[in-house]
Each structure stands twice: as structure tokens, then as C-alpha cells.
Symmetry: C2
Subunit: 434 residues, 2 copies
Amino acid sequence: MLAAPGRAALVRARAQSSHLVSAHQTVTSSVSIASRHLATEAAATTSSSGRKKGPTAVLLMNMGGPSTSTKEEVGDFLSRLFHDRELIQLPFQSRLAPLIARRRTPKIVDQYDKIGGGSPILRWTNTQGKAMTDLLDQLHPETAPHKHYVAFRYARPLTEEALDQMAEDGVTRAVGFTQYPQYSCSTTGSNLNELYREIQRRKARGAPEGDIQWSLIDRWPTHPLLIEAFTNRVKAALDEYPEEIRAKVPIMFSAHSLPMQIVSDRGDPYPAEVAATVHGVMDKLGWSNPYRVTWQSQVGPAAWLGPQTSDTVKGWAKQGHKDAVVVPIAFTSDHIETLFELDQELHEEAEEHGLRLKRAESLNDEPTFIRAMAEAVTSHLSALEGTGRKIEGDKPGASVWNQGYTSKQMLLRCPGCVNPVCQEQKSFFGRVSP
Amino acid sequence: MLAAPGRAALVRARAQSSHLVSAHQTVTSSVSIASRHLATEAAATTSSSGRKKGPTAVLLMNMGGPSTSTKEEVGDFLSRLFHDRELIQLPFQSRLAPLIARRRTPKIVDQYDKIGGGSPILRWTNTQGKAMTDLLDQLHPETAPHKHYVAFRYARPLTEEALDQMAEDGVTRAVGFTQYPQYSCSTTGSNLNELYREIQRRKARGAPEGDIQWSLIDRWPTHPLLIEAFTNRVKAALDEYPEEIRAKVPIMFSAHSLPMQIVSDRGDPYPAEVAATVHGVMDKLGWSNPYRVTWQSQVGPAAWLGPQTSDTVKGWAKQGHKDAVVVPIAFTSDHIETLFELDQELHEEAEEHGLRLKRAESLNDEPTFIRAMAEAVTSHLSALEGTGRKIEGDKPGASVWNQGYTSKQMLLRCPGCVNPVCQEQKSFFGRVSP
């Protein structure tokens, strides 16, 4: 399905998006007002050929969520989700997906109501994107001005809307920057396949945005500043405990689970990358506490990767633990999985079993996280453009976010991959022969 | 079962063990002959109380393997393995285990025949232990002399034999040092539960070795020198390829798999620690190649963690890959899983599918690996004894191998743990109230 929204819908979406951008909270950063003005002016200049010179685009990719809890918006979100064969494979999917979406809509509307009437993920993404590009203009002026765009897989703004906006702005160079720190074929992979298909459609009809030069930050599970940002959040949670029990509180690093079919049959790299992030954070914490990697949001009867976050709460409670910290480790913004699943469902469950739960805050506008985003893109662009190193210790080609058009890891399909689009997409973005 | 071997068997085992120690290959290290003599002399001195002053023991724990391929030794090995309820839980286990062991013996005898008539794991462990303690005497003279002991879970020398030897040597202080870099309840955990039970038996009968002061290095998945040693082995394998294809060869980091019951239902930390080791090696390699973490040695009909190493070979071959490197990442010595499963079975399978396979050499006597062992113990001992830091950057309490009697992580049971011995064992080694 994924029907293209009509012109009116697009206009609505853009109006909403710019509203959200202008409403964003200013993030603590060292960006000067002067440089921001400079960037904006540069964005508006036209090249000698008379065509508007577009900014360097940074496309922030994520799953997204409905910005309101209306039945229509939640229903559309769920329908797109259940149609995505890169996420779920159902028999008679094109018929079954809308049915499942419709059946689940009231329950999910209720959940979005309970977190304030919609997902804050677009608001956070715009806040992060604006703060990141402000900093990026300073860190890598060679490619300034930079402008962020948002491509959600299941909610507005969709990939096609982002590309429309990029076309309108005259973008010729873009960095696709996944906001999932750890790569899964069902998350970043699905976004990239969608982006690839959308680019091919534009190429086919000769649209200029079909010729945008792309490169990708396709994963960044252990970017030093990302690790530092997570660590700051965990430390803040731990600091709330009296000193005498602080080091004994177990930590759950909770990531969205995956069906075992994706993990074991296909060989998705996600669980290993989640573990790498967790290891990085624990190392930064000086191994201050005992911990486990746990997995949340399992649905349906099939086998998923565990231990489940909720089972972990119950298990630890049964063993006599009275306290635990839960850290959302695979998303960078608040969304339904943190605000509803962890803060409401899991909290209640823990209370019932006599366990007091604290949640580490999501990264959201954490200043070190904004620097992580800006430095990852700077490192990526410097490596590709051959510009000087501005970040201490940065070595081109030595990290997964600065290896070239994509990471080397990105070019390797899962051993059990059954999706030919993955190969085409990898060849396209990696600029290698299929 | 785990029947105590008779006196004659013990004498045979010790004779064999010392034969193997004396036959060990000298490992490149900076150890001087003088200091080695000093250590040996010190080991032989007696304290003022007249009792022989024992060396500081380092007990190297591993699963082990039959040193010969005789039906008797292989049968005993398998019988112990299938009796271990910390590894496998079978209905009517005490009856079923010997039956399964007997049925599987001929096939496994054949496999040990094919790798030269037995497992080299005892020989390697003694080589490593001797070289490690030589270095350790230099690095941490405060606790010298050091002597290594071997406790295998399923093969000779068993835990009880190691304790007998330690009693004979007058040991009063011992470090239990797992030779599985990544912790699993079914590997290190099983060894520790066995050690705990054996200590309790000795305590009960008032034997002096019941009072040995223990501390543990219960995991060391990302010790910097361990990572460096693995990286050296991977680099050597990659260097065999012509430069033009070298960076494109995919790497499989192959670890022993686990049943999903242990991973998802219990919440075993092993998969996350394996991923951490792999991430460390890839980082050290500068992300030179694409890779996957894969899992080998699955048996039986239940679900195990994947992707399986052999499926990965087939999948990549199907996708057109012509080359791949396989790296044993969860064992530190050669044994049946490397010499037979990877070098023979997997190689044949790969060839059949048109994939040329190279295997990174096992760590065995890799000099950096020996240093890793010695530095891990030095760091552990310095932290506990409050002696000066001799290793650059070493911070007591900041790594899982120098946090005290055990790592903090060690004290946390799996959320789905169903084994009360785990709690007792953790309390005992951690010296905390249960």
C-alpha cells in the first residue's frame, strides 16, 4: 500500500513540520548566533548557473510515530507498519495488514492518549536535527550550510515527503543518518530500502532529486559521545539512590526485541551491536553495577529474542531485589516504548512484584548526544570530502561512521537474507557492482 | 555420577600432567631465567610455623577434553558432560546421560582420532599456565611464587584433582581464572558451581584446602591484550589474501552456541559478552572488513542461538562470496571445535559450496595472549592486595577482572535462574550474604 499522500496532506505535513522546528527548545551548545545566520544566508544563495544552491542535507531516519492520537493518524501508522515486509512477513499481507491495523488501532490510540496525545518523536527529532546542524555548520564549514530532514518509516513525514522537501530546497548532496544507533535489517534496513525505492522512482521520472549524491551513516552503536551521553543518563539515575545501595542496583539495558527468525535464521547484526553499546556504557561507568541486556516490545506467538524486560523485572523481584534501573538503549528519543511501555506498563508490573523501578531518561536533547550527532556527521563528511580532521583522534576509515559512502559492514548481506532489494540497495548506496 | 577416580588414576593423571608441563614449548616472554629460579626456590620454602608455604595458586578453569581418543577416556568425558545439569537438563538424567554418552562415544572417538588422537587442550593450558606464572612472578612479586593448576569440567584433571594437588602444595590463596573469556552459566558457571561444591565437601571433612582464600576472574571478554591477541590472529589470516581483495573478505566470529532456553528464558550474559569481544576486535582492526557473529556446535532438536556458522557459510556462498575467514572467538586454545568442526567439517562444507575458508589460528601460545593472562591476574591481585599498579592505565575496580573477589556482574543471577546452587556459589565467592 503505502499510498502517496495527496498534495493537501503534504502541505499540512510541511506546515506541521516547520511549526515543530520553530517551536524547538534551544539546546545547550557552543554554536554562536553569528554562524547560524551565516549558514541561513548561505542556504539562500543561488549558484552561478542560476539554480538555487541547496544545503547539505542530513536525513534523519527513524520509525516515527503518530504525532497525534487520532484514530486516523494512529491507524495510518499501524497500517504502514503491518504492510512493511522488511519488518514482518504475513500471509496475504496486503489484505491482512489493514485488518490487523484496524483491530489494533483503538488499543494503540489509548496508549498514545496516555502519553499525552501522540508521539513526541517528531518534535525531538527536529530539536535534535536543528541543534545538530547548527553545530555542524561550525564543525564542518566546508559543506555548510547543513539542513536536517526527517524520514519516518511509518509516520509523517515519510521518506517521499523528505525527498520532496529536499528537491524544493535544491539539495544535491545528502547524508542518510540513521537514528537507530544499532543496525537491524528491520529498522535501518527497512528505512534504507524505502529510500532506495523512492530514489529509483524519482530517477525513473527524471526528477532532479533522483540524482542527489548520497552517503550513509548506517550505524554508530559505539560512537564515543553517544556512549558518553547514555552514560550521563544512567549516572543521573544511579545518583538518585543513597550511596550505600547505589552500586548494588541492577541495570536493565532494554532494547526493542526481534523475532528469532530475523536473529537466528537471517543473521541480523542488531543483537551484537546492542551488546556493543551496552558494553561501552558499562565500561564508561567503570563497571559500577551488575546488569543485563534485556529485550522489550515482543508481540505475537512466535519466538523472539529474550530475556524479556518484563520477565527480568519479575525474575529479579522473585530473587529479592527491591530496586532496578531500566535504560532504553536502542532508541535516542522518547516514544511509546519508553513513555508507555516502560514508564507505565513496566512500572506497574514492577510495583506489583515489589520492585521499585527508575528509568534513565531518554537522550532527547542531552547536550553530549547532540555533539555525538554533529561529530559523527563531521567525521563522515571529512573522510569523504578529504577535508582536515577537526575532531581529536578522528581517523578516516577507522570507524563505522566514516568509512566511505557506507560502512564496510553495511555491504555484507545477512547470511540468510531473502530480500533481493537489500542487495540492490547496498550496491546503490555503496556504489559497488551488485 | 562424576565418580571420584581411584588413587591409581589420580597418580596416572598427575604423571601425565607433569609430563605435559615439562614438554611445554617455551613461550616468547620477557621472563628471565633468574626470576624463574627464584620463584621455584620460594615455592619450596617452609614458613616459620613449619608448614610448607604454598604458592599463590591460579586455577585455570575450562571444559577440557579427553587427552587421548580411547573409548574409555572419550566415554568418561561425554558421560560427565551429559550428567551436568548446569549444561543440559534431561528427563531421568542420571539414567539417560550414560546411555547418550555410550551411543555417541564411537562417533566422538572418531573425531578425536581425526585431530591426532585426543584433545590438545590440556597441553595448551599447561603451556599457557606455565608461561603466565613465569611472567606473573615478575609482574606481581608480592604474591610470588605463583603456580597454575588446571580444573576441567568434563575431563582430567577434574576440579577435585586440582584441589588435591593444591592441598599437597600447601596452597592457602587461589585465584580462580576462567579460560572462557565470556561468561555463561553453562560454562564458567558450571565450573564454579562444581568448584563451590568441591570446596564445601572439603570444608565438611575439615580438610585444609577447604579454607583456601579464593577470588575469581570470572570473565574478561574485552581485556585489551586479549583483544590485541585475537586481532593479531585475524590480521595474520587476512594478510594471506592479495591486497586487492583483502578488505572485502567477510569474517565469521564463531562462538559455541547455546540453547535459546538458556539465552532467552534464563537471560544468560554470554551472547552479549561474545558480541563485546567481537566489537573490540573489529575496532582494533579499524573495521577493516565486514563481519558477523555466528554460532557453532548446535546439537539436538531444540532452538539454539544463531545464525549458525555452517548456515552462514552456505548463505554467503549462495550470495556469491568466494572467500571467508572464520575466527574462533570464545575459546582460547585449540580443541575439537576448532580442529575438527571448523578445520574439517566446515572446511569441507565450504568447499562443496564454492567458498574458500581460512581459519584464524587459535590463541594457544600467542605471546600477547600470555601477557593478557598474566596482566589480568596481576591487575586482579594488585586490586585485592592493595599493591602498587604496575600496568599502565590499570585502575582497581574499573574492570571486570579487578573488581574484588568477583566481578560485580558475577553477583547478579540470571533473571530466569532456576538453580539455587548459583546463589550459594555467588555468595560464597563474593563473600556477601546470600
